[in-house]
């Protein structure tokens, strides 16, 4: 039994929903032992205590993450705002531009740094003087203003002629939320039970907002009505940390680094946050269960079409001979697709913008907003590409792009309507990551984004942005992009609407068997759920490929060999027993391995890619015509046939002379 973790929370009102439940109803471990001991302090003191080892977990200002990239951040919990925050305010008698000195409250480094970022963008350089918490307001005079934070800032608008709400100013400058504080822990001390307890405490706290508002309004220093505090806690402050907040967090950390002159450039990772990860619960539960068959037994069961368990999948991952895996995957492929036909599609990959806020370390395609070389394709360029696609017999556009804060939902709706009005092309458009971005940008539910896009002409969703569906890996390679749950939720919503989607996995991020099998299991579980609905919404295909590292910021090295690809693809064919089609990824591996992949579980040769921009920026350079693709399919002993995204054959495949399926 381990000792309780020492936790320091912040004493401000906005932290009450996160901290108070830990005190009122202390969470306990499985043996009834308390998980935490809790005290309170000012934000900057919290960070200091964590840095000094005086506590294990603390609610820290996010700016301190710049000094402590090793700290593990609790996912899904934060103190943030989207727009005005009310309690981080510059108060003055004159406008900001007229101030020669600003007194800075020493309680939070994040707010001070935020002010510096905003001043730098306005080209202002007043003297900044650090003063003790709460001392600034009394000294405001003439050309001297004060940055006032925390509860002391309530109601300042009534007392000063000029106030600048930094949450609002940040939102105006970036269109993004501002994250002020997060739970951070010394590395290695948070277990799954701690993460669950801290997240559950937040959920409980959010149900107690009226209580906290009433308690606060009863304090002698409170000057406002109880209802004001309740609204502040419920609407102004956001206590979650979803993809949109993470976008804001990375933008803040990047700009803060620039202001501090920390931007060394090159390979240095400008903004790093390390999220703690509880792991995949079914995987944790599966250890120590009943006896497991040998590889041969598991393969025999898989060959007979039986479902294999998570632990059986892990055994195959660890121990199975790759040729045995391939042979069984080939047998499963033959059972699922006995016609001896291998399909492919003629479509064009159009990347409508490269501007992206996600800053994924594995990507060599994006340009951050405002960066050089950012583009959004014009209608003229798109029309040209679409016309060419039709001329080449293409039936579909695979439309994906960056998370561009300039492009709202109506831009996409207009684009899709225009496409449908002028071309006879299907739109396989927008990965879940882009859909989440649009929902955040428009502040509407995922489902509404999908409904509107679909009404405008979206036919299906590509499975990009999944990378590895393990938050431990995602937190390492793309900490500011959507989480596993968020990605799956978009697919779930799309399937609920009856839409077809694909799913993917990118490997080569130093993932283990646990990560890979977790990825497979989450896809299989969701597919079970979707198929049970029987409304046509489901995954049609799975595609995996190795991470292409050239020119990206991710310097890790891993096994991205063709062997690993074939092994993982064969394993996917066995594990994903409810996903009908598997595509080879010849653009990353070359057509020769693509051919071989058709004997390792795949039944589809993917796309005659008329254009590809993303992996080709990172070292993959293969182009094939339809004629060449058909040649490779025949070499593997199959009859080639064209299809659409729904895997309906277009035309009749040639008579299967000599096909050896």
């Amino acid at each position: 039994m381990s000792a309780p973790l020492r936790v320091i929370g912040v004493s401000f009102l906005n932290a009450r929903p996160l901290v108070a439940p830990l005190q009122a109803d202390p969470p306990c471990g499985p043996g009834g032992e308390p998980l935490f001991t809790v005290t309170e302090a000012m934000p900057s003191a919290c960070a200091q205590a964590l840095a000094n080892g005086e506590c294990d977990v603390a609610l820290v200002p996010v700016a301190t993450l710049l000094d402590h990239p090793e700290w593990e951040v609790v996912p899904d919990v934060a103190i943030a705002c989207r727009g005005a925050v009310e309690t981080v305010v510059v108060a003055a008698k004159r406008p900001l531009e007229a101030l020669t000195r600003i007194l800075i409250d020493d309680a939070s480094r994040s707010s001070a740094l935020l002010l510096r970022v905003l001043l730098a963008e306005r080209g202002l350089s007043p003297v900044l003087e650090i003063v003790p918490h709460g001392a600034g307001a009394q000294r405001v005079s003439g050309e001297t203003g004060a940055l006032i934070i925390g509860d002391a800032a309530f109601g300042l608008g009534d007392r000063f002629a000029h106030t600048l709400d930094l949450g609002a100013a940040w939102f105006d400058a970036t269109g993004l939320p501002m994250v002020f504080a997060v739970w951070a822990a010394r590395p290695g001390c948070l277990g799954p039970e701690h993460l669950e307890a801290l997240q559950a405490a937040k959920d409980r706290g959010l149900r107690q907002i009226e209580t906290y508002a009433r308690e606060y309004a009863a304090r002698p220093e409170a000057t406002l009505a109880e209802s004001h505090y309740a609204t502040y806690l419920r609407r102004t402050i956001r206590h979650g940390l979803d993809a949109y907040e993470r976008e804001g967090l990375v933008e803040y950390l990047s700009r803060a680094r620039a202001v501090l002159g920390l931007d060394a450039g090159g390979d240095d990772d400008g903004a790093h946050v390390r999220f703690a990860d509880a792991g995949y619960a079914p995987l944790r539960r599966s250890t120590g269960a009943a006896s497991l068959g040998t590889c041969a037994q598991i393969l025999a069961r898989a060959q007979a079409g039986e479902r294999i368990s998570l632990r059986e999948g892990l055994r195959l991952y660890d121990e199975a001979d790759v040729l045995d895996l391939g042979a069984v995957a080939d047998a499963r492929r033959a059972a699922l697709h006995p016609e001896g036909v291998v399909t492919y599609i003629v479509d064009r990959n159009v990347n409508y913008t490269n501007v992206c806020t996600a800053r994924c370390k594995f990507c060599n395609f994006y340009t951050p907003p405002g960066g050089r070389g950012g583009y959004v394709l014009s209608r003229e360029v798109l029309a040209e590409k679409f016309r060419e696609t039709e001329a080449l017999g293409g039936v579909q556009i695979l439309l994906q792009g960056g998370l561009n804060p300039e492009l709202g939902l109506s831009w996409y709706e207009d684009l899709f309507r225009w496409t449908k009005a002028n071309f006879s092309l299907r739109l396989h458009a927008l990965s879940p990551t882009e859909v989440i971005h649009l929902a955040d940008l428009e502040q509407i539910p995922i489902r509404e984004v999908l409904v509107r896009l679909r009404a405008a002409g979206m036919d299906s969703l590509p499975g990009g942005g999944a990378e590895l569906l393990s938050d431990e890996i995602r937190n390492r390679i793309s900490p500011f992009k959507n989480t596993t749950d968020e990605w799956l939720d978009v697919m779930r919503q799309a399937h609920m609407l009856g839409m077809k989607t694909t799913c993917t996995m990118v490997f080569g991020f130093q993932e283990t068997g646990d990560h890979v099998l977790t990825h497979f299991d989450r896809l299989r579980t969701l597919q079970d759920e979707s198929l049970a609905r029987d409304n046509g919404g489901c995954f049609t295909a799975f595609i995996t490929w190795p991470f292409q590292a050239d020119g990206t910021r991710l310097k890790l090295r891993d096994d991205t060999s063709a062997w690993r690809y074939l092994r993982l693809q064969a394993l996917a064919r066995l594990y994903l027993d409810n996903i009908p089609n598997i595509q080879v990824s010849w653009p990353t591996l070359g057509p020769e391995i693509g051919e071989v992949g058709l004997r390792f579980g795949a039944n589809d040769f993917g796309s005659v890619m008329i254009e590809e921009n993303v992996v080709s920026q990172a070292g993959a350079h293969f182009m094939l015509t339809a004629e060449q693709i058909e040649h490779h399919i025949r070499q593997a002993g199959f009859v080639p046939a064209r299809r659409n995204m729904q895997y309906e054959l277009l035309g009749t495949p040639e008579v299967a002379v000599g096909a050896r399926a």
Binding site: A300, E319, L323, Q635
Partner: protein
């Protein structure tokens, strides 16, 4: 994996009994649909002979001239006459310079293959070997294909034996396996009518083996030959090996169509490559090694081939010209660390050899720069490590003449 095909089971029994496979067996295997089952069979033989070792060596190539009086349809390298665009012939100083500039590299072998130059004096070829030996006496010279030896003999009125003896005196260490193409006359008449016939090629190697020289052998596939002609080619090699025991390594070579007269043929395919490696391993059971020439196959296919019968991936080849003029887009040289990585990723145990397969270095699994993989990690091709070698193929090679 449960094998159910009766014919395949019969072949498996033959392999277990060490019974050589028949021509019909070879044709059945070539046409058998289950790629992984074919690979498993070949891999079984490969691991019986070599465990999980994959050999490599550190060598470089010299192609001293591309002037060639033979007009082979599959070749993008040869320029027929001196003075034609891109035609070149190195001086002896240039040849020496190729080795001298590698003074700091642990090269153990020079691989020398040239065009059939109509005008160079016999002494040029002897001197080539002499200047290299003078520069670096310990280096092994694997030089001149049987086609060149036949050409020397014809032009200078000497027997194969005399030619070979003079070359050995000048420093020749062994013969490369090139020029075999496909032995069938039908094919040779169409794609390489100007050079040694299949019988002549085999006779040069027979003579070399009698003199105590080791040699390699090749097969060029993917031009106009039939599967029957490939299997026949393999059986002819197996027959000569049964007679002499002098071949070390069989190297199937895939045809690359760019820049030559057969450019209309389809490019090589991964499936055909792997089938050919597997069938080669299974049919030619008496030649110890099967080499997957990575520079031709590409790195990815070369990795896969290590579980389809191949146990050798050649070396850190530098200055390869012949395949690159035919469109091979592999990097021109792999550093030693890259070769080890390539082998580790294929789940194999890297062994550096010299030309005669003496072990110079074995992978100890130590971390290498930029490589996460070490031998404690079971990797893609399965967790196999340091498999025992069931039989010692090299010991079965009987040399009749004895080395001079």
């Amino acid at each position: 994996m449960i094998r159910t095909d009766a014919r395949l089971l019969e072949i498996e029994r033959k392999l277990d009994d060490r019974t050589p496979l028949s021509f019909d067996d070879g044709m059945f295997l070539y046409r058998f649909g289950d790629l992984c089952a074919l690979g498993s069979l070949a891999n079984g033989v490969r691991e019986r002979m070599h465990g999980d070792r994959t050999y490599f060596n550190i060598n470089f190539h010299i192609n001293a001239t591309n002037v060639c009086h033979a007009d082979c349809k599959f070749c993008s390298f040869a320029r027929l006459e001196p003075g034609m665009p891109q035609a070149y012939t190195m001086s002896l100083d240039q040849i020496r310079g190729k080795l001298a500039e590698r003074r700091d590299q642990a090269v153990t072998e020079v691989h020398i293959v040239n065009g059939l130059h109509p005008g160079l004096p016999w002494s040029y070829y002897l001197d080539t070997l002499r200047v290299l030996k003078a520069e670096r006496p310990e280096i092994h010279l694997k030089a001149y294909t049987a086609v060149e030896i036949h050409d020397f003999a014809t032009r200078h009125g000497k027997s194969y034996e005399t030619i070979l003896r003079e070359l050995v005196d000048a420093g020749l260490g062994s013969l490369p396996g090139g020029g075999a193409e496909i032995f069938a006359d039908r094919v040779r008449r169409k794609i390489c009518r100007d050079k040694a016939t299949g019988d002549q090629w085999l006779d040069v190697h027979r003579t070399a083996h009698r003199l105590g020289l080791r040699s390699n052998c090749t097969m060029l596939y993917g031009t106009i030959e039939t599967l029957e002609e490939r299997v026949d080619h393999m059986l002819q090699l197996r027959a000569l090996q049964a007679e002499t025991g002098g071949f070390q390594t069989f190297i199937p070579l895939s045809f690359h169509p760019d820049g030559n007269d057969l450019g209309k043929l389809p490019p090589p395919t991964g499936m055909d490559d792997l089938r050919t490696y597997a069938v080669a391993r299974l049919m030619v059971d008496n030649i110890p090694h099967i080499k997957a020439y990575w520079i031709m196959l590409g790195i990815k296919t070369a990795q896969i081939a290590q579980s389809f019968g191949a146990d050798d991936i050649d070396g850190t080849v530098q200055e390869e010209k012949i395949y690159h003029m035919a469109g091979a887009d592999t990097p021109q040289a792999l550093a030693r660390v890259d070769l080890v990585r390539l082998i580790r990723e294929a789940g194999r145990h890297a062994v550096e050899r010299d030309t005669l397969y003496n072990v110079l270095w074995e992978d100890d699994g130590a971390p290498l720069p930029g490589i996460r993989l070490d031998s404690s990690v079971p990797y893609s091709a399965g967790g196999k490590r340091h498999l025992p070698i069931a039989e010692q193929p090299a010991a079965s090679v009987r040399l009749q003449g004895g080395a001079r």
